[in-house]
Symmetry: C2
Subunit: 433 residues, 2 copies
Amino acid sequence: MKVQTFDQFIKSDRYQVIMQRSRFSYDSVLSVVQDILDNVKRDGDQALRKYTKDFDNIDISNFRVSDKEIKIAYELVNADFLKALEVASRNIRGVAEQQLLQMKHTTVMPRSGITVWQEWKPIEKVGLYVPGGNAVYPSSVLMNAIPAKVADCKQIVMTTPPQNDGSISPYVLVAADLVGVKEIYKIGGAQAIAALIYGTESMPKVYKIFGPGNTYVVAAKQLAAANGEVAIDSPAGPSEVLVLADETANPKYVAADLVCDAEHGNDSAAVLVTTSSVLAEQVAEELERIIPRFTTQQRIKESLEKFGAIIVAKNMKKALEFANEYAAEHILISTKDASNIAEQVTNAGSVFIGEYACKSAGDYATGANHVLPTGGAAKMFSSLSIYDFMKAVEYQQVTVKGLTEIRQSIEIFAEVEQLPAHKYSCSVRFENN
Amino acid sequence: MKVQTFDQFIKSDRYQVIMQRSRFSYDSVLSVVQDILDNVKRDGDQALRKYTKDFDNIDISNFRVSDKEIKIAYELVNADFLKALEVASRNIRGVAEQQLLQMKHTTVMPRSGITVWQEWKPIEKVGLYVPGGNAVYPSSVLMNAIPAKVADCKQIVMTTPPQNDGSISPYVLVAADLVGVKEIYKIGGAQAIAALIYGTESMPKVYKIFGPGNTYVVAAKQLAAANGEVAIDSPAGPSEVLVLADETANPKYVAADLVCDAEHGNDSAAVLVTTSSVLAEQVAEELERIIPRFTTQQRIKESLEKFGAIIVAKNMKKALEFANEYAAEHILISTKDASNIAEQVTNAGSVFIGEYACKSAGDYATGANHVLPTGGAAKMFSSLSIYDFMKAVEYQQVTVKGLTEIRQSIEIFAEVEQLPAHKYSCSVRFENN
């Protein structure tokens, strides 16, 4: 990759491309997806069978994964995988449980006789979509299912497209079973989202749907959310990393983290911003050296070419300004005084501090959640956590003394807003009954 | 209103109508709204001027409200209103500040050498839409702007449609100014939302848009959110209240709270569920008696006819089951042992406890937020709070010891997921450099 100074970079055509990166566009599939939603709503299981036949090329009579299938899955994975799952799960659960502790409500008494608080309660029914196809991502199962369990969602419904032989990846099944997902269905695509929204004879409806998917899946989620039929998680696009480094960074590690991100897909984005032109050149050379060794090299090359950059900034302040404007899904800080720099990051999905916080550690096993806002959405969306599986219910308790204190305020607002029954709902409490 | 037993009610045609209540449908305006979005994106201020001329019938050259206009607004409101604002603001701010305290992060060390935490940071730029027209709602300004200020959002941009003479309601202006909103624009409708999304010569773009509006406004927000161009607050529909009462409730208070909600608009929903058939009849009579006294009686009658109900349940358990399925925006608990009943509410926007917690108290002055999920959305959406004006940034810090502990787990996941550069991003840290 070519090394550019920041000034060259912002004046070049690349700037807009890099800032924009790849975005989902699903205009072309909207009408197909709307049909799928309508048909599943109307015909239920019959429509699910038809679409599974059409799109996945399989006749499925029973969508639900059986206990026997789960048992077989355990026989197909080895002990090392179970160990890896166990290590990652324990850390993810530890983080989620701490979040739950933090959410215990405290009441406020804004004035005597008035008590107000919020209580976080689980969303009772949630759906988890797990993509299928060539990719098998048991780690994504953990990242969604563990917070759902810790949040104590009553019903967790997972759905994933069947493979060519009608089965589900044993890695996905074992990951789901191990963290306590009891209800797994073999349906994929927009029809799976439709089933989660409306319910069918065999599938329950849910209140909120989580998980990434192809264009059809994303379009179905967005359409349903826009119609108010279901809540969905934050939008998720291609993976992206921004490495912020100074002359103390190890170029081998930096290059490794850039390719680690770039191999996700040919739309991934990997950007290095550094205050050291020496490091920049070293990383560029190291990339040339290591890329050919990976079976995923084609994807790595394509994504670096499209959305990759190595930028030399005048100083750390400039570098941070750019980072906060870019608002990366992952930002890796490999600098002197990294903790201090990290605190100055205002927009990011996840901030990795220190040279041993490699990207794959956060993807899999530190306990941090790898479901993160992309495409600049970190400016307004959060990293996934148990908050997403709960909702805040507001409470307010008022005594006669409390109401007396705010009575005048209520009555004046009601007058200004021309809502006389609002005034009456307060004043009747002070009439002789 | 007719009193029904629960069994009669769920078997009747009313059941579906009541559960469904009124929902926004904006299919009919989507293409008009898309044009407005596209034109404002392309033509900026020129398009804003054109639409303001077309829809609001006014030529506006300067959209921004001037200091002079603010000063005049203060002259137009009386001291009582300022006092009412002050009382309500102090309580709303007290609640928001307590929420902020609660959000201080605590770190987790899921194992030695690995530290993970979330930090809540303000969304830097937010937009507040304030509806205009006949209705003037300074209380809504407080409910959105105060949490934004407490969250420390750097730029808070408010926009509201101009009145026929090109001015803005002094109540709205004073409320906004008093709580520290410095940037107010006189633009309404879908064009205002477009300006907030894309920015124009005179208006800055923002990252998240809050506030209710007419069909065009809601459609513009939903369209932009579905395209990933901006974040929006939770969907908001017509107001609704569910009163849960037993024989200890005062029928006058219950009837007052039902009309208080019903007067919001002819699509509002007001439902009483009670274990006492005596109370049910008393409330029905009281409604007949009081409705004619309100200038808003037409709206009250229409909404009660369409979406109102008085239902007698066999016992409190049944009543609570119904309440949790209905998932009301407001639920008022007027029973023996109200706090205990309140805890059993799983789905609601705001829970009012005790006979002095009248609906208008929460609408205006207890400090609780009146922006709440409607139409059953309380099953998955939260009451508005400072969380909505912030986003959680995830942090992870890993030492060499920490990475050693999870190294095997990372490498096995990378193998299973066929991502060799993920494995390398970890293993390179253990090579001799």
